[in-house]
Subunit: 298 residues, 6 copies
């Protein structure tokens, strides 16, 4: 306990206490529920610390699950090993050599870094790939051009995840999958997170990105972040061309998760301090929230 | 979600989120633990709302139990019914007529008011007296003068309390007891709270009082609140006459609970906003904390 | 063991043993089943002792639940406190002052007396009001004249009652309720008992009253107790005006419980010795039994 | 329900009900406890019906286990099959042919008759021999003369019996055993019952015999049944020669069970009506009770 | 471990190990599943040892249940006791005297022999008749001529069998039944086995017989065993008169079990070494397999 | 089912069936027990397939756990990345760059290859490192020369492994560890396997190596494999210098596991077909078995 005077510093605990009290409705809404967090896997430069946010949420009775990406580190290692890097429509063409590297970067280098951070701070994290326990069963992705070992998730081992979260573990999932013949695949991390969230009917699918949220471009060309939008509103944005390119399939994957029962999608700026806590525990929130009714009380 | 501008209001969620992150070590220390809160039973004039604090703590995995008092309301009703009121050494002399009134005020009027407040806000509270399920088994208190039906707790139904808290209920206990012959008794609320905390080896016994904590009177006559003290330090204060009168048995009851395994006692000012949250979730704390080692990291 | 001669007193145990054997079919029918007993709450002048009957039945594997009333004691205290007493159609008009008194008399004075009697004799009773654990969720009663805080039960916390009876506790329920906004209400005890029995699909709803059962008035004006009747038979009695006034809603509440799955209603004379045991364990029974088929084997 | 007049027959239920109330302390003492009943296996000529007594006791929360004998029926069948019958010191010499017959009479003819009676009346009985599930592990009995396949119990499968009684089954055990090499043996039924009761630390071991209890021969030659005696008192009777011959080992087996934790032995007259119910549920009891303290409150 | 040279005997373990590996798909198909084995009850002259096969299968996670017969031993004892033996259409006419003998031979002599063999070798077998725990509830068989106490199974206590097999016990069932009035009956062992298998939806019903399987008589009069056939194929054989007489009802009972969910029937030659293991664990199998699709992969 | 003639091929199932019967004692000894298999991680050139052996053993009720190595692949990748490779006393000097590579090769490339093989064949494998769930808590290894991030196991998360194996999963563990500060380490695979086996008190610790077992060099210089030896015998071999160099610490780690309760160590030749099945299921065994008593019956 830091030294303080009776008159001054003691104001701070009172203000803090009031904040906790104010977060109560948010805590009650999330208690006992599963949330799935898509994270890039890197320690963010400016912002919050993922492990810290997860442990606070878990302490409030939330069951967090992380799905992480790792594209830049895969590319870096492919360069180190002088393996050619090729993308089609934003998707990585994955031959056996690339799959090996993706497996190592996603399944070990990044995954164990995240797990070690959580466990070093009193957490109980377990790193898994979609191969372990047949967690993510995939089929080869259909695409105009052959992408190699890129898979689409067609099944999730829900029992394993529920067993682990019920025992207090935080699963940290690397986006690799396995087909019924035992062949392993690379999976897009956003798609994997959406599939996991949908299968678990998670309360929240939170995407920690490098943008402040979904934008709307006004007539004068100015762009503003949309704080709250419905799936129908997103369809409009796509139709208007305000959402385009690689964002379209990513956004559509999230909407599919909502039709499976996910209650809300949070699109967050990883550069913010503690973006998850902002989004989930404060009245004002953070980034863009996708909900079925804009008028939903938070 | 309140309207806000990108630059201004959005600072607030970030600051809030940082505060939650800062409370993480406190949350981890208390998770899954039982705390016993002694409360006067009245809605405090200036300060926090008990139900709100309890629900926040329960949301963080704490198992709260309330023991409440109610002396002023008992006296008021005795006056209404023109029953004489008599105290000996600060203890209410309790004949059959007084016991009836105490039973009704403690066991119903105050108890159900607290329970209804919790349940109206999403809580799961159950009001009990020490008679129910033989929760508090007592013997007639030994005292120089016969105090009538005033009992000392000699046994606590720990299984019942653990069963209820494990099922998510918050027990709200009125300080009445029963002896092995089925006679009911009035019990001092501080003693009842200490007995319950000791029997459950609670993490914390929090006394919500009408003073800011334990005082030390300096040579110049000025009084300052003691933020942190050990049982030995309290023995010194008693020896020095700084703690005296009715405070002595009350304080000794708390120390007895510590020898049974309670980790810390919090003496709090009910006039503060959210005193429990201040004391349990902030670095600076609130009131006086009694711990076995002053140097204990919070 | 009392002294006895080989020839004389030893006849008694044999006769007793034969009686137990004769009760076997009744025991097998009730084993593991819940029964709800509506009781006035007072120690009956002539008759059985409620606690003794409940412990015998519980010892035979029955799960008893008590709902008690307490109108006369409420009225007496209102008189002591000089609060005006007002009834409309037999229902107590309940303003805030009356509700306070009803809460104290029902929720503590009578409730804890019943609980203490059971616990003093080896029972495990827990006194609850409908406020505790949201046990009885109510809505304000609709009536031509505003009755104040008088509620109709619209929900019962079945899980809590089953959890307690499974753990061997006997719930003793005071007829107070809570609405979804946290306001508490007075509830008619017969209605509360019927609601609890219906929600639990109890084997038996037993009403311990101050009359020997339902009467039929013969042509010569003589009244005889009806030992066995069906719901349709009761409808006939109402149509004939043999059941009238305040008895009509009371009887209709019981019939509603039967449509929810309660198997039989027992209307018993509390002045009889051990009326519950007579009704439930002997071939001849006691008072009036309402069953779906008069020809049902007991 | 039999027809009755208000004045006459209705007295009977009241008297019956009072008897049930009187049995309450006995019920509370036995609730949840295991009792082991040694029975001859035949339907007794004059007295109670075993199945009826067991179901009444089970209905009161007692867990009954039966061990039955069957010597006369074994001898009858040996005679039918013209196999010679031979006894040494009251123990049947058991060669392979005798063992076959004993297995069939005990393990099937008598055992299934008892089981069928219980099951026909709503019971859940399971007939077992000591061979099944290695229920009674034996060693060949040591005796001056070779008795053939006669075994002494050296182990009891307590888990199996507890699993069955917890599931509401009444085990009915034929006194056959198995050694570790898989050889089966005949076992004395009294010894088997004592071994089972001792291993389970049963509340009661009841021996249903063809005598009224243990006798004491007075100086004038008159014999009186001893209602209550301690193990030390029995040692005295043996020393005085009042208990002698085949009764000595039988009685010593029972005392050994008491040292393992059995609380009382009941020696009962099977010719009495409902001897078990008399002994266990009435104040006056029946036959001889062996307890550690004669002054024990029943 | 036998002495061996490095070059020679060490070849044997390698070959053995390869055989275990080859059985893996069969083990995976049967793991956790129940199989019901109908066995004559005698120790087969030439062939496998039942207990050994059952313990191997149980060791692979299979839950075996045995139903045994015993006709020849019943007839032998009836002859010893000079009770007349009478058959109608291959069914034993069963008066009270015959029922007694059948009960003893099936329920004890054969049953305990099988149980003792299993338990002597580390198994956990429990012998039961259909009377125990109302395991086989029967009705008197309808037949042109009165057959006496011969019953048809109309109900199986599935819970009891599942509880025992889940606890690692092997139930060994003698084909006796009980009707709702408590009368016991003799039951055809094949019918009993089919009823048990059907009620449990067993993976396999294996009939260990004294023939090599089902035969097909070719045009040249030569008979060949049919390795694999469907229910429809069996109907054809019956229509062609290739299956006739007493085999017809036996075969139809098995087909009825398949309609209840039994996956395959194995008709095995008890004279083979280890016929069950051959049938269930090798690619080539043994005897005749009845399956819903002949082309089913084993 | 392959086509066959009645006379020829049908001999094969009979021989196979006899083999299964012969393996019964081995199956009974291992049922429900945990075994830990240390494996190099590569698909062996000549020999058995690890996944196949594990699934056979799991099908017999064994709970297998795999700890794999991977040194050659680590070295290969370090060479590809032009990171210098350095060993001290057979231990890899592990700086941050080496640790990264070891993490990726062990934690992902090899680990997921083994997991995928098991899962593709109907297994339920989960790949873990010692970092996940704090499975292997380590301290920095003490060594004359600083080895960098090389750790010694000081704690094993036994609860996690037992939870997974009880749910039917096969844990596949990469030998990486974490210290209490969250730093990750490389761990020697043999040491990790011995630590896991010791902590779990495994029935067997099997080391699949590239040698046929422990050798004894005779006076004439000839070397023979020792089929069976005790820890004391190994101490003798070390004293005689027959075991030396890098083998000494490896062998001592295994003996330490035996003092923790591991019953036997199997040192196996991975070039053999199905070495685990040979060692665990055949009478003749395979390689060298270390047991506490050479005369122990297998």
């Amino acid at each position: 306990m830091s030294p303080d005077t009776e008159t001054g510093a003691r104001q701070i605990p009172a203000a803090q206490a009031a904040l906790f009290a104010g977060a109560r409705p948010h805590m009650q809404r999330l208690a006992g529920r599963t949330i799935v967090v898509k994270h890039g896997g890197s320690t963010m430069a400016r912002g919050g610390r993922l492990w810290e946010e997860l442990l606070v949420l878990q302490g409030m009775g939330v069951r967090p699950i992380v799905v992480h990406g790792g594209g830049p580190e895969i590319t870096a290692m492919l360069n180190d090993l002088q393996v050619p890097v090729q993308f089609v429509d934003g998707l990585r063409v994955t031959d056996a050599a690339v799959l090996d590297v993706a497996t190592m970067i996603l399944g070990a280098k990044i995954n164990k870094r995240l797990v070690a951070e959580l466990n070093a701070n009193g957490g109980k994290a377990i790193g898994l790939t979609g191969i372990d326990g047949n967690l993510l069963v995939v089929e080869k992705a259909k695409h105009a051009q052959d992408l190699g070992f890129v898979g689409d998730v067609v099944g999730v081992n829900v029992a394993l995840l529920n067993q682990l979260t019920a025992a207090g573990y935080i699963p940290v999932i690397a986006p690799l999958g396995i087909d019924t013949a035992g062949q392993t695949y690379n999976v897009n991390a956003d798609s994997a997170a959406a599939a996991v969230a949908g299968a678990l009917q998670a309360a929240v699918l939170a995407l920690v990105t490098d943008v402040p949220g979904l934008y709307r471009q006004e007539a004068d060309g100015q762009k503003t972040v949309i704080p709250r939008i419905t799936p129908a509103g997103i369809d409009d944005l796509i139709a208007q061309g305000q959402i385009k390119g690689g964002m379209v399939p990513k956004v559509k994957g999230c909407l599919a998760a909502m039709t499976q029962g996910v209650e809300r999608i949070q699109i967050l700026d990883g550069g913010q301090p503690y973006p998850l806590l902002q989004a989930l525990l404060t009245d004002d929130g953070c980034g863009t929230t996708v909900v079925n009714e804009v008028s939903d009380a938070r």
